[in-house]
Amino acid sequence: MRKAGIGAIDKKRLMEARLKDHGEEIAAEQLKQLSTSLETFRVKLQEFAMKHKNEIRKDPEFRRQFQEMCASIGVDPLASSKGFWSDMLGIGDFYYELGVQIVEICMANNHKNGGIMPLEELFHRLVKSKGSTASQGLATDDVLRAIEKLKILGNGFSIIQLDRGRILIQSVPGELSLDQNQVIKAAQQNASITLLELKVKLGWQEDRSRKILNDMVAGGLAWIDTQTGASNSDILYWFPSLFNANINTL
């Protein structure tokens, strides 16, 4: 039962103040606990780094495992170059350098493919530019992780998933529309497509197909080939980003 009057109010105030004091104590206690816990962790990480630094640099499987575990506990070892992980394991440099090389390769090829490149081609070009010894332990998983990191620099990079595990890397701003995505998927097999094929495969009206394809030509994603036939529905639209030949002629 609560009593009325000034005495009761005073009592309540006192109680609140005490609770607050207590809360502060707990928070300070926890912060202290965190800092000791952090210190033990740092020592552990140091030990780990001394023993396994090379493995993490050389073995892509080990690296993948490491990244997955970090993700599962809600930690991003690549977030800051100043963090423990980068500092002691040197894992940051590996990915950041990869990022720089990815940007350079994509920029150098933008005029050819309109800013879209298959992951395999990017990977091959990376291996070529790094040299065979330096790229011995490189996996496509690493490339994708490095690209994920680049995204925050202003919607420049995105990853496009195609059927059968094929992946395209887009290195220019502006996401592909849903329709454009479908066109690329439909054109995957031959790296090219006609209005007629789009009608068969996606059931699109000619107007819709032509609009999408012309947009893609204007954006540099597709090339027109009129030599195959006289009628409009025979015009071939080629997608340089899907050329397998790009890889073989490297």
Binding site: A27, G83, W85, S132, Q136, K149, L153
Partner: protein, 330 residues
């Protein structure tokens, strides 16, 4: 495992994985590319008429890398023995036990392989215990973060700052750390100064604007070692304005982020674009070449000019082209 001829898709070879007795990795020596050697059991007679090789081993050479990944996948597949579920050819070699001679060598190789595997599993064990330690620390830090969010006066500013720096070095992704634009962080201030000092001249040369992706590449190329992460670059650039450095961050409507010179204003951009347009109508590509900026930025400049009524667009299959706006100039 199936090989297909690049030029003639109908020509192919296959190897049933059940025939693989042992995988042996040969690390690269001087001038040698790394190789994987597969020791094979003799093939069983096949019902289908195909040509069968009687070779007892097979070598893969990796001139351009990728060996480690290939080897991992292959070992993985062989360990799973999926063919047993399909009633395919059974591996009889494994049951017959070891003989002397070549089999003896194989056995020796196998024990060696075991040693290597053990070493790797040790590493994974260590990784596991490391992650356990990290997990506890992260959990504790998250409890504190919720406290900060609720902010019932329980935590002082000093403590918040301390917590933020803990979270940062641990790499915990949290809004609290991300919005830590408080200028008390010396590291980012230093980085901001470094970026600004290194890029002022290149920025002047490239017309006063540069995408942040370019900035990231240039900063890291200049450093060579101890590279900085994309997040750090972005964070440092955010601080520039408050620090009154000669460069600062600019975010375009399209989401493109760039670094620009402080004394570089929009009117200058528009005037430059206008002058270039008077010479000839331009696409983003062409403007990029004329002014020496990246194509992405050239497009932003043209859109800006259009918005101010200086340029007119011509949208066709040949791409987006801009003309000077004659409607307003008369």
């Amino acid at each position: 495992m199936i090989w297909v001829d690049d030029n003639d898709q109908s020509c192919s070879m296959r190897l049933h994985l059940s025939l693989v007795v042992l995988i042996e990795e040969q690390r690269h020596g001087a001038g040698n590319s790394p190789k994987i050697m597969l020791h094979l059991a003799p093939p069983r007679p096949s019902a289908i008429s195909v040509q069968v090789s009687s070779a007892s081993h097979l070598k893969f050479s990796f001139r351009k890398g990728g060996m480690v990944e290939f080897s991992r996948r292959l070992t993985d597949q062989i360990a799973r023995k999926r063919w047993q579920n399909f009633g395919g050819p059974q591996n009889s070699a494994g049951q017959s036990g070891f003989r002397i001679g070549i089999a003896g060598i194989e056995r020796k190789l196998q024990t060696e392989q075991k040693g290597v595997n053990q070493q790797i599993s040790h590493a994974f064990e260590d990784l596991n215990s490391l992650m356990k330690a990290a997990k506890d620390t992260v959990a504790l830090s998250k409890i504190l973060v919720t406290k900060v969010k609720n902010r019932q006066g329980e935590i002082t500013d000093d403590e918040t700052t301390q917590l933020k720096s803990y979270l940062l070095s641990l790499g915990v992704d949290d809004p609290v750390t991300r919005e830590a634009s408080r200028s008390d962080n010396i590291y980012f201030q230093k980085l901001a100064k470094e970026i600004s000092a290194n890029l002022t001249i290149p920025l002047k040369e490239s017309g006063g604007l540069m995408t942040l992706t370019d900035v990231y590449c240039r900063v890291n190329r200049a450093r060579g070692l101890e590279l900085v992460s994309p997040e750090d670059v972005l964070r440092a650039c955010r601080l520039m304005k408050a620090m009154r450095l000669p460069t600062e961050l600019k975010i375009f409507e399209s989401g493109v982020i760039a670094l620009e010179l402080r004394d570089f204003s929009e009117t200058v951009v528009i005037k430059k674009t206008q002058e270039a347009l008077e010479v000839s109508p331009l696409t983003a590509d062409m403007l990029a070449k004329t002014l020496g900026v990246s194509v992405i930025l050239a497009k932003e400049m043209l859109l800006l000019a259009e918005k101010q009524g200086v340029a007119c667009r011509d949208e066709s299959i040949e791409g987006l082209k801009f003309y000077p706006n004659r409607f307003l100039s008369t």
